[in-house]
Amino acid sequence: MSIRAKLRTLLSRNRLFELESLFTGNDTARTMIVSADILAVVTPPFSDTEHGRRLGEFRAWLDNFSEGGEISVAEDPDQKPPDAMLARVAPVDDELWSVRVTEPEDTAGIRSLGGFAAKDKFICLIWDFREGIPVFDDEVDAAHDAWCDLFGSQGPMSGANLDEYLTNYRAV
């Protein structure tokens, strides 16, 4: 079964969710798909707390992706600028990427891991506050397991270059 067919099944069974932009609905240039865990935390109202502020930032990142906003992307996990918005994680062959929410600047931010189902179609599987990830490799393993649980042996989309993954990006 193709990744597209599997994704359709997972969406119909409420194991994954297509995230509408809070401002533009499903009229979007790209598609963001999230797990139930992520949907739960990025669905407003956002609380009047520091956590609420950080989750509001997280949702804005996801909506910016959907709406086709410019995204700075680091392709090399070992040469990653600290401010990249999206970064490939090692091992590269696993095709997993880290969504990097680096604001508010006075916090450690949020990381969410997932992979591309197709060009401009990203699936966020797991997330955590950055300070809650003491060993990043463990988070990558968890994302890998989550992907396998959903898609079996069908890995994320693999592209020859960034143009095959998304539009409106800026390599950093």
Binding site: T43, E70, E105, R170
Partner: protein, 151 residues
């Protein structure tokens, strides 16, 4: 297909405090829009980061850092970047995306204490007393009260 519900983000109402979470979302969107404009101008212009740094009298690493993500730029920084890249200046206008989308909310999901503004034009043209009456009516509807027939 499972599609997430678009609920829970409302325009400000009266003196109700806006949560820092909501402000965080709105601020991030604003930063991202500024970033989009600057990066698109940069791509269109073809200017190198090194030249941009020289035009602004900044170190290349400062420019590199600024352009790496939608940071919390000062207004002057945004203005400087845009002008230095292509001689552009930003133009501004206000939008009301939440009032445009509110018709899609099921009534039971509208918080009575933060009833959204359903029609910006109808609202803004009214007097304060009329607007208060409109808000009260929305709250009644959100609470499931019968909608009175028009006279």
């Amino acid at each position: 297909m499972s599609t997430s519900q678009t609920t829970g983000l409302y325009e400000p109402v009266r003196s109700e405090k806006i949560s820092v979470g909501t402000l965080g979302y709105i601020r991030a969107r604003h930063r991202q829009r500024q970033y989009d404009i600057v990066i698109r101008e940069l791509k269109k212009s073809g200017i190198s980061q090194a030249d941009l740094a020289r035009r602004l009298g900044k170190a290349p690493e400062v420019i590199s850092r600024l352009l790496a993500r939608p940071g919390n730029w000062e207004s002057d920084t945004f203005s400087d970047l845009l002008f230095a890249i292509s001689g552009a200046v930003a133009s501004y206008h206000a939008e009301y995306p939440l009032s445009q989308r509110v018709e899609e909310f099921p009534a039971e999901q509208i918080k009575p204490e933060s009833a959204p503004i359903r029609s910006k034009s109808a609202f803004s043209l009214g007097t304060q007393a009329n607007n208060d009456a409109i808000i009260d009516e929305w709250k009644r509807q959100a609470q499931g009260a019968p909608i009175p027939m028009a006279a």
